[in-house]
């Protein structure tokens, strides 16, 4: 199992489109992927969970991956956050 704290830096936070990208990305790995914030952890492969988590810009989330490809999953997802989910600004 690997974990990493990641700041949400994109302007819109984990809004619908970002959440959708996160779900797609998490879903492409066989590992379990979780996202935690303020003591609440949700399945990163569930858009409902991510939307309910409502991580806004400036908040910090913890990614936890567990499974065969956990390291690759963690790196890829961290990169997605760093790239602001491909938002224009």
């Amino acid at each position: 199992m690997v974990t990493r704290d990641i700041p949400v830096i994109n302007r819109l936070g984990l809004h619908a489109r970002a959440a959708a990208k996160l779900v797609h990305t998490a879903g492409s790995f066989s590992s379990q992927v979780y996202l935690a914030m303020d003591g609440e952890e949700v399945d990163a492969k569930s858009i409902l969970g991510i939307l309910l988590l409502a991580a806004a810009q400036g908040s910090e989330v913890t990614i936890r991956c567990d499974g065969e490809d956990e390291q690759k999953a963690l790196d890829t997802i961290a990169e997605l956050f760093a790239q602001r989910f491909g938002e224009d600004s």
Binding site: L12, G13, L14, H15, A16, R17, A19, A20, V23, H24, V42, D43, K45, S46, I47, L48, G49, L51, L52, A54, A55, A56
Partner: protein, 580 residues
């Protein structure tokens, strides 16, 4: 045992198991499931999810062509929600744990999650709730369109529906099923729902605030529409009382039906035609049983109410009118064209919104303003006319011009039917309702344009006396026997008589035996009324002497108040010598 006092708006007594119907927006109804039906219901949910996902993929494809990939991707959130195990798992658990229909589970889950979204600080993240709401709506729409759409009418055994409110279309669906009684929190005697309950002969007690939350599901419940009470968990004694009430009712019913063979003729040999007012086809049997000599008023708006929120198509119109004409043959049938406006249905279906709907776009005003809707009804009518003599009656007419415009429009429809080679009959009798004081007082002009008129006293009284009888503050002023009403009716009878045009009366006033006798004394020879009231009115007519009543009527017309008229009538009936 507990007794709740309400308002009996549809008579009769019923005993059944309570099914409390909770209802949410979008017409979602909570329906309890049998334990064995739960797995099938979960399968139904996933079927709907699958269908919705396929539909969404098509929509997304179209959106991409139209607006480009970037914007089309908003649908991705929808698609993801539809595969979301957390969301679907919640819905499934709710179906299993609460044993409820999928629609209700979807609705409640959406509502619950909505509350959680409400607590999110960031407004633009909170807005994502919209996505969820879209998805629950898609799902609901899909579920409601799927086969095996759950309908409360499939609940086993004799059922009493306990609801906050019933829409007229629900009342029709339920009343035709296994439901024996209704108890509702809201509503009054003149609502469409009450009219439907009476038409289907299902007892209805209204005005029971809080009843839905007070009655546990499946409790034995007795609904007494005569006394306006609902008894929860009735004692053995009450149940025995119920059985004897049913027997008495059956006896009374066959006594009444026995009068149908008797001629409707006064003691001095004046024949009066009693016709039926009908809302639903179910009432045809009742009308025939009680000896109605035709249908004096078929309220076609009930065809619309049944179909709400959709509009009936031409074939549906045709089927209903055809059955009416065929089953009543050789008796006449008068179909009143759509008379809605200002009511809920008008708002929902026709998208009209008015400050003062009673004085607004209703009756012939509405239908002529919406020819695309009216056209469908008229085509159905002219096609049905092949199957029996048809009379068309226009509601809310106030000017001669309206009748002429209708004739022109009807001519166009007939041309259209001829052109496209559709079989139809061009012969019909045309009549108008006299239900606005201005129409009553210009009846001498109106009768020259038509084959018959029918006096609609319900609206005539409301407009003439400026009284809404549902308004408790002024309902005491709703006086059918007010001399102003009698004088207007007299004027209409004279005008029709002079022009040799048939005249009838189809308001509730005609089903009051005393008022009916007075009207006959004034010269009325045809009354259309609720079928179940026919025996009573006929009995009264068979006891009366028309010549004697004519003298009483002349005196009534010269009086200045409803009270004086009532007094005269009471005295006259006391003086009336018994039959033998």
């Amino acid at each position: 045992m507990e007794e709740l006092k309400g308002l009996g708006v549809s008579p009769g007594v019923a005993l059944g198991a309570a099914v409390c119907m909770e209802m949410a927006e979008d017409g979602v109804i909570r329906i309890p499931l049998e334990p064995g039906a739960v797995d099938a219901e979960v399968r139904r949910l996933y079927e709907a999810v699958e269908t919705t996902r396929e539909e969404l993929a098509v929509t997304r494809g179209k959106a991409r062509q139209a607006v480009g990939e970037e914007l089309a991707s908003v649908f991705d959130a929808h698609a993801l929600l539809l595969t979301d195990r957390a969301l679907l798992g919640r819905i499934e658990r709710r179906i299993r744990d609460k044993k409820v229909n999928a629609e209700w589970a979807v609705h409640k889950t959406g509502e619950e999650l909505g509350e959680r979204f409400e607590t999110i600080d960031a407004p633009h993240l909170r807005e994502r709730f919209e996505d969820l709401r879209d998805v629950t709506r898609y799902l609901l729409r899909c579920l409601q369109g799927l086969d095996h759409h759950h309908d409360i009418s499939e609940v086993e055994g004799e059922v009493v529906i306990i609801a906050h409110d019933l829409t007229p279309s629900q009342a029709v669906r339920l009343g035709r099923g296994r439901v024996v009684g209704f108890a509702v929190e809201t509503g009054g005697p003149t609502s469409h729902t009450a009219i439907i309950a009476r038409a289907l002969d299902v007892p209805l007690v209204a005005g029971l605030p809080g009843v839905v939350s007070r009655v546990p599901q499946q409790t034995p419940v007795m609904v007494d529409g005569d006394l306006g009470v609902v008894v929860l968990d009735p004692s053995g004694e009450r149940i025995a009382g119920y059985h004897s009430a049913v027997r008495r009712r059956g006896q009374r019913d066959s006594d009444r039906a026995a009068t149908s063979a008797l001629p409707c003729e006064s003691r001095d040999g004046v024949k009066i035609s009693l016709l039926a007012n009908i809302e639903l086809l179910e009432e045809i049997a009742q009308a025939r049983r009680y000896g109605a000599e035709g249908v004096g008023l078929y309220r076609s708006e009930f065809l619309y109410i049944e179909r709400t929120p959709e509009l009936p198509d031409e074939d549906e119109h045709l089927a209903v009118y055809r059955r009416l004409l065929e089953t009543m043959s050789p008796h006449p049938v008068i179909v009143r064209t759509l008379d809605l406006g200002g009511r809920k249905l008008a708002r929902e279906v026709l998208h009209t919104e008015e400050d003062n709907p009673v004085l607004g776009l209703r009756g012939i005003r509405l239908t002529m303003a919406r020819p695309e809707i009216f056209r469908v009804q008229l085509r159905g009518l002219f096609r049905a006319a092949l199957h029996g003599p048809l009379s068309i009656m226009l509601p809310m007419v106030t000017t001669v011009a309206e009748i002429r415009e209708f004739r022109t429009f009807a001519g166009e429809i007939l041309d259209e039917l001829r052109r496209d080679g559709t079989a139809c009959c061009e012969d019909y009798r045309l009549g108008v309702m006299i239900e606005v004081p201005s129409a009553a007082l210009t009846a001498d002009s109106l009768v020259k344009e038509v084959d018959f008129v029918s006096i609609g006293t319900n609206d005539l009284i409301q407009y003439a006396l400026a009284v809404d009888r549902n308004n408790e503050h002024v309902s005491y002023l709703y006086q059918p026997l007010h001399p102003s009403i009698l004088r207007m009716i007299r004027f209409v009878l004279d005008a029709a008589g002079e022009a040799e045009v048939d005249v009838s009366l189809c308001g509730e006033m005609g089903s009051d035996a005393a008022a009916a006798a007075l009207l006959v004394g004034m010269g009325l020879r045809s009354i259309s009324l609720s079928p179940r009231m026919i025996p009573e009115v006929k009995t009264r007519i068979r006891q009366m002497n028309v010549a004697q009543m004519a003298r009483v009527a002349a005196e009534c017309l010269s009086r200045g108040s409803a009270e004086e008229v009532e007094e005269l009538l009471t005295r006259a009936s006391e003086l009336e010598s018994p039959v033998d």
